[in-house]
Structure formats: structure tokens, C-alpha cells
């Protein structure tokens, strides 16, 4: 479970202070499928980056099973990401000059996994996500949906407990977006905690337990769609 208290993130832009997040309080229980919805500039990506430990808060706390993120060193935050966090981005963020297999294998690079073990796990994960025929294709040779599945495989190959997805279908057509949505729903049903940031009010609405609305860095409203305790907890990415 992740517990966020009085979280703020302020930064200077053109000499002016921008309050990206301004006093967020929330809890993310294990196994939840949480949607964070808001317009551009509402602070939803900043919140995701803070949870991932890619950014540090101005004030407030983010308590995780691994410890308090706000006070962690770079080394500890890096370990938090390599051990517990899987991240998916709108623009996929694959390394274009490497093939799908290599990109997915990178997910295990900082877990000190041997090269052959990384390759085996990457093949298994890509196969599971329906990409067995695309192992040696470079991102440029893949469709947007396929690229996002490779990115998802990279996030999942290290067996994270929390998946953070930042606009995962933002660059996809409707059909591919539905496939990704379905994949996320399946993973959540297996027990993986999923936090999705989206500006699409309809995305994964039928699968999410809860939706958090952000506006100008503040939590504007919260909707609970279904109860968490009816959830199966058999998540095993391997």
C-alpha cells in the first residue's frame, strides 16, 4: 500500500513558481486499479513521477512498503524502481536502435540478472503479450500498439508490484487502445496494482476500482467504481 500525505511539488518556470501539485492526500491499496484523470497541466504526470521516485516532492510524504520516498537517496529510489515499479509512457520510450527483445531485457538490467536469464524472461513476457513473432523487430518496424505492448513487457518483465502508466493509449488508435486497456485489466485481475494517468474520461472506466480527478494540482473529486475486496490476487507476470 502506498500512502501519500500533503504532497506538494512546486518549481520555477520562467521565474514564476508553478504549483504542479498542491497538497495531495491519497492511498493506493495493493491490487487496486486506479485512474488519475485530469486535463493537461493538472499535475497527474507529476504525481506519477513522484510515486516512481523519478522526481522529489517539495513537501509531503509518500510512504511505500520499501520506505519513505521523500527521504530516500538516489540509490534507494533507483532500487525502488528496479524492484517494485513498472512504468509505461505515452510515447512508449523504447530504444529505437535495439529490437523488442533487447528493449524488454533492459527491464532486468539493473536487477543484476545474467544476460541469458534476461533473454529468457523477455521472450516469455513478449510471448505472453502476443509479440512472439516480433522479438527481433525494432520499434520503427512495429505498430503503435505493438510498441506499447513491448513497453508493457519491459515494465512487467521485472515482476513489479506496482504498474504506473502515463497516458498509455494516448498515441494509439481505438482498437489498440482497447487491447492495452484489456491487458491492464487482466494484469490487475491477477493482483497487480495499476495506476493509470489519462485525460480520457472513458479509458478503463469499466475496469478501474476508483478514479481520482486532479485539477490545477489539487484533488478535485474521487469516484469509486467497484469494491477492491472482490478482486482475485493471482498476479504472476512470469
Amino acid at each position: 500500500m502506498i500512502e501519500i500525505k500533503e504532497l506538494t511539488k512546486h518549481y520555477l518556470l520562467g521565474g514564476q513558481e508553478v504549483r504542479a501539485l498542491d497538497g495531495i492526500d491519497m492511498t493506493i491499496p495493493n491490487g487496486e486499479f486506479l485512474r488519475i484523470v485530469g486535463s493537461s497541466g493538472s499535475g497527474k504526470s507529476t504525481l506519477l513521477n513522484l510515486i516512481a521516485g523519478l522526481d522529489t516532492p517539495t513537501s509531503g510524504s509518500i510512504s511505500t512498503p520499501f520506505g519513505e520516498l521523500a527521504t530516500m537517496t538516489d540509490k534507494q529510489r533507483s532500487r525502488w524502481r528496479s524492484e517494485y515499479i513498472g512504468m509505461v509512457f505515452q510515447s512508449f520510450n523504447l530504444i529505437n536502435h535495439h529490437n523488442a527483445l533487447y528493449n524488454v531485457g533492459l527491464g532486468l538490467l539493473f536487477k543484476d540478472a545474467p544476460s541469458d536469464e534476461r533473454q529468457k524472461a523477455a521472450i516469455a513476457m513478449l510471448t505472453r503479450l502476443g509479440m512472439a513473432e516480433r522479438l527481433h523487430h525494432k520499434p520503427a518496424d512495429l505498430s503503435g500498439g505493438e510498441q506499447q505492448r513491448v513497453a508493457l513487457a519491459r515494465a512487467l518483465v521485472k515482476k513489479p508490484t506496482l504498474l504506473l502508466a502515463d497516458e498509455p493509449t494516448g498515441n494509439l488508435d481505438r482498437e489498440n487502445a482497447l487491447q492495452i486497456e484489456s491487458l491492464l485489466a487482466d494484469l490487475n485481475r491477477e493482483g497487480l496494482t495499476v495506476v493509470v494517468v489519462t485525460h480520457d474520461p472513458e479509458f478503463a472506466l469499466s475496469h478501474a476500482h476508483r478514479t481520482l480527478h486532479l485539477s490545477f494540482g489539487k484533488q478535485s473529486s474521487e469516484e469509486t467504481h467497484r469494491s477492491l475486496d472482490t478482486q482475485e490476487t493471482s498476479y504472476d507476470p512470469a
Partner: protein, 472 residues
């Protein structure tokens, strides 16, 4: 394990940017190549000088002289006193005569392998109807076991100090109308310019200037001769050619034309002079006063100083080239530094190339850095990744640089050898790459490349992953 992965990633990245990598690597290659070839030139010259010193025995030979001047006169042993190797009852160092007893004392010093007098004299070689003037040196038979006198073309060095044998130089062999093959075994007469004949010639010359009746002249001549000459000595011996050699002079053996055993020529009446003053000195000196100079050869150059001090303590003057050699080595160190400075400048220029390449690489790969950080890469690991990359550039550049340096040395060596051959001098290898230069050059190339990568690596480590990932 992560280091091995990073090396693979670095090689992949460098391979992807082939042209840029090639240009950067060629920079460090030229730098290391220049450094290696310049240093190898310095080492080559140093090696040649050092070899010459060793070949000539300069580092293992001491030149010993009897002390002359006021001090020696004040403490000199009276004529007729038994040979000198006994301490005077004086606060000052006793004067020593450089005679056979003194040489025996030198030989008894631990570490001394050879001690012999420096004896050179002019002589005539009589062979057939021809007489050839030569410069001769008397040497002990064991000399050849310790010192190099040159390259034997045929035969061998004499094996006994009393052997009636002679080693001829190639030039003298030719002058005698012989070849290295035909000369062996030939019996030659060695005739010396004797003290008595010199004195007779001198007296005849002087007495001729005065109007003295012949009987009176005879009396004066006989009286002077008996006073100065003290007995007639042999001036001719027959010797057999035992070897023909390309004789090479060195410290302690000023060999010119022929070598003869010490004892064989000991009984010969022989003098050698180059000007009238020297002749007067010879004529007026006491022939039993010992040798002017002797050479002491030590087994190893490390014992040279100790032996030198011991002999000095005995009251002799000692000179060696070892101190000069240290001075030469210091000068060579400066020369090597100057040589390497050229290489250093080339390496520094190439480092600029590495910094430039790596900074460009960091700028271009910010998104990749952001991805690695999002996957759990620590700042230190990102820094390491880029340091490994610059180190790999350094390694590849250094390997090629070593090859380039070796190639330049080989070509330079061939050119120098050709020039020396044409000039007719000894053909020497002017370049030397010692084995240790390989790891040193590799280590230097890699180290300076890593140092050049420090700044770009720090920039990479501090890339903000949020911005890097948002850029896309």
C-alpha cells in the same frame, strides 16, 4: 556483472556511430602512436649508448694510476726499497707503486675479476721481407674471458700469458699480405723500439754537436749508457699468429693493431712515445718504478663503487665512467621527457575529441538515459556507463596507437639503418619498444580517456529523467 553489460552496451553504441567513433579513436590512436614512437626512439638511443658502455666495459672497469705530484714525492719509497705494498708509518696515504704486487692486491679484493697493467708500445712486425709498424697492447690471457676485445674472424685469443702468440687486427693482417685464414699459424718477428737503441741514437745526436775526439766520445757514450741504460734487453721475439680479429677499442684496452700476452713481452726492451718531451721522460725515468696505469675489472657493475673506494684507500688514483654514465642517464631521462612531451600534446588533443564526442553522445542519448533511470539505473551506474564508453574508446585507440607506434618505429628503424649503412658506420637499431611499454601505453590511453569522460559522464548522471522522458 553490470560492468560486462555496460561494455557490451558501449561497444554497441560505438559501433552504431561508426564514423564518429572512428574519428575519435583515430585521435587517441595518433596520440598514443606518437607517444610510443617518440619514447621508443628515446629508449633506442639510450639502449645503444648503454650497450656501448657495457661492450666497452665502461661500467665494470676502473682505471688505476699511481699517485703523482708533491704528496707522492713526500712519501715516495726510496729507490731500492722493496716493492711497495706495505703501509708507510704516516698519517698520509702511502704512495703505492703500480707493480705486480699491487695488481695481486687488487685481484684479492672481493668482486674483482681481473687486474692488468695498461701496456701499449710501438713495434715492427717482420714477415718475409717486409717490416710493418704497428701499435701493440700487452694483455693477460684471461682478458678475453672478461672483456670483449672485438669479433674474432679466425682462430682464438691466446690462452697463456707466456705463449709466444699474437692476435692481429684485420687491417694488419692485410698489410702483411695475409688473410684471416692464411695468417693463422704464421710465425712473425715482433721487434720493439728499445730503450738502449733510443739512448744510443740520442747520445750520438748530442755528441755530434761538439768537437770531441772519438776516444773521448766513446768513453762518454759508454759511461752515459751504463748509467741510463742499466743493461741490454732483448728487442725481438718470434710469435705465432693465433687469431685474427676485428679489434675494437674500449675503456681499458686501447687496442689498435696487435695483442700480445703480458709475460711474453715483459722481457722486451720497449718504449713508446709521441713527442720529444715524452721521450725525455721515458729516458730519465726509472724502469723499475712500475706501470703508470692499470685496469681493474669487476664482476658486476654494482660492486664498482666499493672496489673503487677500496683501491683509493690503498693510495691510488681511481677513475671510472660509472659516474659519467649516471649523468648520461639523467640527461636521457630529460631527453625521454622531451620526446614524450610531443606524444603528450597529441594525446591531449585527442582527449578534446573524446570530451566532444562524449558530450554529444550524452546530449543525443538523454532519452535513453531517462529510460535507464526509469528502469532503476542509479546515477553512479549511468556515470559508469559513460566512463566505460570513454574507456572503451581509449582501449581501442590505445591498441591501434600501439600498432601505429610500432609501425612508425619499424619504418623509422629501417630508414635509420639504411642511412647508417650508406654512411658506412655501425648499423644500429635506433628504436626500442620495451615490453612494459605495452601495458603502460594501454593503461595510459585508457586512464586519460576515462579522465576525459569524467565531465560528460557527470552530465549524463545528472540528466533529469522527468525532462528526458518528457522531451519525446
Amino acid at each position: 556483472m553490470i560492468l560486462r553489460e555496460f561494455i557490451g552496451i558501449s561497444l554497441g553504441n560505438l559501433w552504431r556511430m561508426k564514423l564518429r567513433t572512428a574519428l575519435t579513436v583515430s585521435g587517441i590512436m595518433i596520440g598514443i602512436g606518437a607517444l610510443v614512437s617518440m619514447l621508443s626512439f628515446g629508449f633506442g638511443i639510450q639502449r645503444n649508448v648503454s650497450d656501448q658502455f657495457h661492450k666497452m666495459g665502461l661500467l665494470t672497469t676502473l682505471q688505476v694510476r699511481a699517485v703523482t705530484g708533491e704528496r707522492s714525492e713526500a712519501t715516495s719509497t726510496p729507490p731500492g726499497h722493496p716493492p711497495v705494498n706495505q703501509e708507510e708509518e704516516s698519517d698520509q696515504s702511502p704512495q703505492r707503486i703500480l707493480n705486480a704486487a699491487a695488481l695481486d692486491t687488487f685481484k684479492a679484493i672481493p668482486g674483482v675479476s681481473l687486474a692488468y697493467p695498461l701496456e701499449t708500445f710501438d713495434a715492427y712486425l717482420l714477415f718475409g721481407n717486409d717490416s710493418t709498424k704497428v701499435s701493440a697492447q700487452a694483455l693477460p690471457a684471461v682478458f678475453a674471458d672478461h672483456q670483449s676485445f672485438g669479433d674474432l674472424l679466425n682462430g682464438r685469443f691466446f690462452t697463456s700469458d707466456t705463449a709466444h702468440a699474437i692476435v692481429l687486427s684485420e687491417e694488419v693482417t692485410e698489410k702483411l699480405g695475409l688473410t684471416p685464414d692464411s695468417a693463422l699459424g704464421q710465425v712473425i718477428t715482433l721487434r720493439t723500439t728499445g730503450r738502449s737503441s733510443l739512448i744510443n741514437a740520442f747520445l750520438d745526436n748530442q755528441l755530434a754537436q761538439f768537437d770531441i775526439p772519438p776516444p773521448a766520445r766513446l768513453i762518454i757514450r759508454t759511461a752515459a749508457e751504463s748509467f741510463l741504460n742499466r743493461g741490454e734487453k732483448q728487442t725481438e721475439i718470434e710469435v705465432t699468429v693465433c687469431g685474427v680479429a676485428e679489434l675494437r677499442s674500449g675503456f681499458g684496452y686501447v687496442i689498435k693493431d696487435v695483442l700480445v700476452p703480458t709475460e711474453t713481452v715483459a722481457g722486451l726492451d720497449r718504449v713508446s712515445f709521441s713527442n720529444p718531451l715524452e721521450l725525455m721522460n721515458i729516458l730519465s725515468s726509472d724502469p723499475d718504478q712500475g706501470w703508470k696505469q692499470a685496469l681493474v675489472v669487476v664482476e658486476h657493475d654494482s660492486s664498482l663503487n666499493r672496489v673503487s673506494e677500496t683501491i683509493e684507500d690503498m693510495g691510488f688514483e681511481v677513475f671510472s665512467f660509472a659516474g659519467r654514465f649516471d649523468e648520461i642517464k639523467r640527461n636521457f631521462a630529460i631527453f625521454d621527457l622531451m620526446m614524450s612531451a610531443v606524444g603528450f600534446i597529441a594525446v591531449i588533443v585527442s582527449l578534446m575529441g573524446i570530451v566532444n564526442t562524449m558530450v554529444m553522445s550524452v546530449t543525443e542519448r538523454k532519452r535513453e538515459i531517462g529510460i535507464l533511470k526509469s528502469l532503476g539505473g542509479e546515477e553512479s551506474q549511468i556515470r559508469l556507463l559513460f566512463l566505460v564508453e570513454s574507456g572503451v574508446i581509449g582501449l581501442i585507440g590505445s591498441v591501434f596507437g600501439l600498432i601505429l607506434g610500432w609501425a612508425v618505429s619499424e619504418v623509422g628503424s629501417l630508414i635509420f639503418k639504411e642511412i647508417m649503412r650508406r654512411e658506412g658506420g655501425p648499423v644500429l637499431d635506433m628504436f626500442l619498444i620495451p615490453w612494459w611499454m605495452i601495458p603502460v601505453a594501454l593503461g595510459f590511453g585508457i586512464t586519460v580517456s576515462i579522465l576525459a569522460g569524467l565531465y560528460p559522464a557527470a552530465r549524463a548522471a545528472h540528466v533529469d529523467p522527468v525532462k528526458a522522458l518528457r522531451n519525446e
